[in-house]
C-alpha cells in the first residue's frame, strides 16, 4: 500500500492505496464521492471525467498513486454554498439529462470546455468537444443547448 494525499474539491485528503487503484476508485470508494461514474472499461464514455490540476481527464484511466499531490475537482465540487453551478442549472433548465448517468462527466467536460474556449460556443464546437462523452439517453440535442446556455452564464 502507498500513502497518498490530494486536495479534492478544496479539501486536503489522504489515504492508503494499492498501486493498481484507479483515481476513480479512490474517489468513490475511499472518499465516498460517488458522483463520478464508471460507464465503460475502454476509456471511451467519459462518465468519469474530473479535473486534475485544472485539466479534464478520465479518472478511470489514471492511477491514484500517480495523482499524489494533485488538486482534483469532481462534480461534487461544482455547487457552491448550496447553490448549483451555472452549468448544472443550465442542464436542469434545458433538460440536458434523462437518467443522469453521463451527467457528471458531461458537466465536468463542459466546464473544462468553457475554461479553454470561453463563454461563447457554437454548436459545432460543442458537439466536436463532446467526442469523449457518451450519452445513452438524450440524443445530445439538449446537452448541447444546455452547455451553450450554461457557458454564457459562467
Amino acid at each position: 500500500m502507498s500513502a497518498i494525499s490530494m486536495k479534492v474539491n478544496g479539501k486536503a485528503v489522504c489515504g492508503a492505496v494499492e498501486p493498481r487503484t484507479l483515481l476513480v476508485q479512490f474517489l468513490r470508494e475511499n472518499l465516498g464521492l460517488t458522483g463520478t461514474h464508471v460507464g465503460c472499461d475502454t476509456s471511451q464514455c467519459g462518465a468519469c471525467v474530473v479535473h486534475v490540476n485544472g485539466t479534464a481527464i478520465k479518472s478511470c484511466t489514471a492511477l491514484a498513486v500517480a495523482c499524489d499531490g494533485a488538486e482534483v475537482t469532481t462534480v461534487e465540487g461544482l455547487a457552491k454554498n448550496g447553490k448549483l453551478h451555472p452549468m448544472q442549472e443550465a442542464f436542469r433548465e434545458h433538460h440536458g439529462l434523462q437518467c443522469g448517468f453521463c451527467t457528471p462527466g458531461m458537466l465536468m467536460a463542459a466546464v473544462d470546455l468553457v475554461n479553454r474556449k470561453g463563454k461563447t460556443l457554437d454548436e459545432e464546437t460543442i458537439r466536436h468537444e463532446l467526442e469523449g462523452n457518451i450519452c445513452r439517453c438524450t440524443g445530445y440535442h439538449n446537452i448541447v443547448k444546455a452547455i451553450q446556455a450554461g457557458a454564457e452564464n459562467m
Binding site: R20, T55, A56, I57, V65, A66, G132, N133
Partner: protein
Amino acid sequence: MENFIYHRPTKPADAVKAMKDAADGKFLSGGMTLLPTMKQGLAAPSDIIDLGGLGNSGVEVGADKVTVKAGTVHANVATDKGVKKAIPALSALAGGIGDPHVRNRGTIGGSIANNDPAADYPAAVVGLNATVVTSARSVPGDKFFTDIFTTALKDDEIVTAVEFPVPKRAAYVKFPNPASRYAMVGVMVAELKDGSVRVAVTGAGPKVFRVPEMEKALEANFSADAIGGIKVKASGLNSDMHASPEYRAHLVTVLARRAVAAAK
C-alpha cells in the same frame, strides 16, 4: 487489474535500471492505452515504471526543426503557437486524436512506442521524415515502426523526443472511425525543404507505409490531379467490421488528394 510494483523515477537512467531489474516491466506515460489493456487483463506487468516523474515534456521550435519531448501530451502539441506556425499539419494531427480528455493525457512517446496500426502520429513521423530520439540512440522515422504494435525499441529503451524537420508544406487528412476517432485511414503528405515529397499512410495496413509512386508524381507536379490515377493495392491491407481492404485502398487516394490540396 492485477497488482504490480509501482516506480516513479526522476532520471531516465533510473527508469532504464528499474526496467532492467524488473521481471516483466512496462513503462507508463499517459496510460491511455496501457491502463485499458491492463484493466481488460490483456497485460499484467510485474512492474510499472511511470515516466511522468521525468518531467520530460514540452516543445522546442527552431527555424528548421521542431522537437517534441516524449512526455508531451497531444493537447500541448495541438495548441502550441510555435508548432502551429512551423508545422500546422502536426498541430492539426495532434488536435484530431481521440477526444479532449484523451489528448490531455496521451503522449507522443507512448503513441509511437505503442505503434497501433490506426494511430495518427506514425504518419507524422514517417511523412515528415522525423527522427526518434531514445535513451540509447537516434532512429530514423523510416526505421522505427517495424511491424504491427512493434517498433525498433529494445525492452529497456525509452523514447525521449521526436525531431520533426520543418517542411515546405504539409497536411494530414484522416477518415476517423466514427466511434473511436482512430484513423480508418490517415494520410500525411509533405513537401520537404529539399523538394522531396513524402506520402505516409496510417490505418490502412498493419503499420504505416509510404506510397513511392505518389511521391514521384508529386515531386514532378504537386497537385491533387497528379495522383488521381494512382491506387494502392488492396491485398495486405486491414480488414475489419469498419472497412474492407478495397475500401481502405480507395480512401488512400481520396485522402492523399485532399492532403495535397490542403498542404500549407
